[in-house]
């Protein structure tokens, strides 16, 4: 087994942090104490964790309406996130962004872009900046499967391709765009097949296998850094929660959902770690406990933090 134990456990910790964070947030919504709406990351943890583990400190990401997992994996910290979800001035966007726009560029994450597909040109433009300044950095664009049908995807990926920019496009194919099966909106076996139309490589990877995602991302990053241009990565996964707050998911067939739950990434990785002897149950539970404590502390501090003053809304429009 060629991975350092610390590395494997850090992947585990990231995935568990995302899962527990989302579970806690869902609960806060059901309690009615959290404002706004949410799109949660349950079931896709291996993608954010695997991709971000492969990034250099100076690499950057764009995110979507479903950004909590990306933010945690990119290291924004659960507290600034939780504070943002509660709309506090102490949040990562000072309470002005909210769940759908969490981000912190000082940590390499652009405020999440909640218009489907619109992050593609933005990530491509960040890569252009790296090219013009000859910096060895890469931009990674996270998007959902539904984004591949937006014009912005087409225009952005094509320009990334023709100029061989240092950008990696990661499609998290969780099989649904809101309630619509992706199979109904593309006439393709794999979304990665779209890559051919832009003259770039497309790869389909098991998005529930964190190490597979990690390796595939590393390869794409190496190509990008070497000036060989973008890769279109399709990570296959499943959304094991509602599309957004309070979605009963009646459009997801029972059996499909059951099967997906059996293959969810954290259980999968946990079994593998134990089987490889990379860690024992106790060690993993200890991590879970630490994570829970961290999240609880974030919730407390967020709920205790002062609200913004109404007139604070007037600032930050112009520099």
């Amino acid at each position: 087994m060629s991975y350092e134990r610390e590395f494997l456990l850090s992947l585990f910790r990231t995935m568990v942090t995302i899962r527990r964070f989302e579970e806690r947030v869902k609960y806060l919504f059901l309690e009615g104490v959290m404002p706004g709406t949410i799109h949660q990351y349950h079931g896709q943890e291996a993608i954010a964790a695997g991709v971000c583990a492969a990034l250099d400190r100076n690499d950057v990401i764009t995110s979507t309406h479903r950004p909590h997992g990306h933010a945690i994996a990119k290291g924004l910290g659960v507290a600034p996130l939780m504070h943002e979800l509660f709309g506090k001035p102490t949040g990562c966007c000072r309470g002005k962004g909210g769940s759908m726009h969490v981000g912190d560029l000082s940590k390499g994450m652009v405020p999440a872009i909640a218009i489907v597909g619109s992050g593609v040109p933005v990530a491509t433009g960040m890569a252009l900046a790296f090219r013009l300044r000859k910096e060895p950095r890469v931009a990674v664009c996270f998007m959902g499967d539904g984004a591949v049908n937006e014009g912005a995807f087409h225009e952005g990926v094509n320009m990334g391709a023709i100029w061989s920019l240092p950008v990696v496009y990661v499609i998290e194919n969780n099989r649904y765009s809101a309630s619509t099966p992706i199979a109904d909106t593309v006439k393709l076996e794999h979304l990665a097949d779209r890559a051919a139309g832009y003259g770039i490589p497309g790869v389909t990877v098991d998005g529930n296998n964190v190490l597979a995602v990690y390796e595939c991302t590393r390869a794409a990053l190496d190509k990008a850094r070497a000036g060989e241009g973008p890769t279109l990565v399709e990570a296959l996964t499943y959304r094991i929660t509602g599309h957004s707050r309070r979605d009963p998911c009646n459009y997801q067939p029972e059996d499909e959902r059951k099967k997906a739950l059996e293959h969810e990434p954290i259980g999968h990785f946990t079994a593998w770690l134990l089987e490889q002897g990379a860690a024992d149950q106790a060690a993993l539970e200890a991590i879970g406990a630490e994570v829970d404590a961290e999240i609880e502390c974030a919730v407390k501090s967020a709920m205790g933090a002062p609200d913004p003053r109404p007139e604070d809304a007037l600032g930050d429009v112009y520099a």
Partner: protein, 339 residues
């Protein structure tokens, strides 16, 4: 008669129009998925059971399917397209403004574009990209009609008028007025339900209505702001200020006679719109009032709007962004010289 929410009234209106006219169809995202939601705000819930072929669930391609609605319309169909949030109209501006609004004119009047485009608006705790009121942007686009129902009765009646109109009609609906129930209910919603007549009816596009009579000051607002204006009028009544509340219902064409008549009586005008102040719907109404009613006005036309900022996420800031009954009442008090 049956009491209905806006979501229910729109659903019934669509059902009746589709039953009446084979040319009518709906196109949009997640509108007819079995087990789904009937669009983002339940308006089309269940319609796919009766009209499977005419409930077209699209990819996430606003510019594409709105352009397709145009193509179908000029071939004699009567599409009803919708975006899940008004903000996504910005993804389709080329088709809406360059193509849909101008196609008839460019053809020298030979083409008709019978098309309805529905868009939910309003600041509702989702942040800057899901809370814009974009009505003002389309005021400057000749070729479009624009309606803004504030009640279930008007929602159904204006929808029917729009479906039967031979021009493109943009229909703005407010997220806090749908009255969607159960899992899809919006927090902070107002009751905009109405008694809906059994018999078929349409509300004429371009005709406004007086929601409350008064002689001291005229308050004009649509959608959520109409309800806030009524609440303001109630506050003012307690202070002996009689406010007249007008709901134009349509922005294009605009029922100017109704507003003018009221202002000639009250001599004071307060115009309310949700959304940024500069270049707002309120600005247009104020400009026309200043131009045509100067001799009647005894106070400056007051605009009550959001400040010139994006929709902020945190509730305290968003509540500051959205005009309140108190702010509307204050503007009225100032115009009657009560403060």
């Amino acid at each position: 008669m049956a009491r209905m929410t806006i979501a229910e009234a729109l659903r019934q209106g669509l059902r009746e129009e589709m039953a009446r006219d084979q040319r009518v169809f709906c196109i949009g995202e997640d509108i007819g998925v079995p087990g789904g939601w009937g669009g983002a705000f339940t308006v089309t819930l269940g319609l796919e059971r009766d009209f499977r072929e005419r409930m077209i669930d699209t990819p996430i391609s606003e510019n594409g399917f709105i352009g397709m609605a145009l193509g179908a319309a000029i071939m004699g169909m009567r599409p009803v397209a919708d975006v899940q949030y008004g903000d996504f109209l910005l993804c389709a501006m080329d088709q809406i403004v360059n193509q849909i609004a101008k196609m008839r004119y460019m053809s020298g009047g030979k083409l008709r574009v019978p098309l309805v485009l529905r868009a939910p608006v309003g600041a509702t705790g989702r942040g800057a990209q899901h809370g814009q009121n974009l009505e003002a942007m389309f005021l400057n686009v000749p070729g479009l009609k624009i309606v803004c129902p504030a009640t279930a009765y008007d929602a159904k009646g204006l929808l029917k008028a729009a479906v039967r109109d031979d021009n493109p009609v943009l229909m703005f609906e407010h997220k806090l007025l749908y009255g969607a129930k159960g899992a899809r209910a919006e927090s902070g919603s107002l009751d905009a339900s109405s008694e809906i007549p059994e018999e078929d009816y349409a509300v004429p596009i371009g005709r406004g209505v007086v929601r409350r009579e008064g002689s001291d000051v005229t308050i004009v607002g649509t959608l959520l702001m109409m309800h806030r204006a009524l609440a303001a009028a109630e506050l003012l009544a307690g202070e002996g200020i009689r406010a007249e509340v007008i709901d134009p219902r349509s922005l294009v064409p605009f029922d100017w006679d109704l507003v003018a008549g009221s202002v000639q009586k009250t001599s004071r005008l307060v115009v309310v719109t949700e959304g940024p102040r500069t270049g707002s719907v309120a600005s247009e109404i104020a400009a026309t009032a200043g131009e045509t009613l100067m001799d009647y006005l005894t106070a400056p036309v007051a605009r009550v709007t959001s400040p010139d900022i994006p929709d902020p996420f945190a509730p305290p800031m968003e509540n500051f962004y959205r005009p309140t009954a108190e702010r509307i009442a204050d503007a009225a008090r100032r115009s009657v010289g009560a403060i």
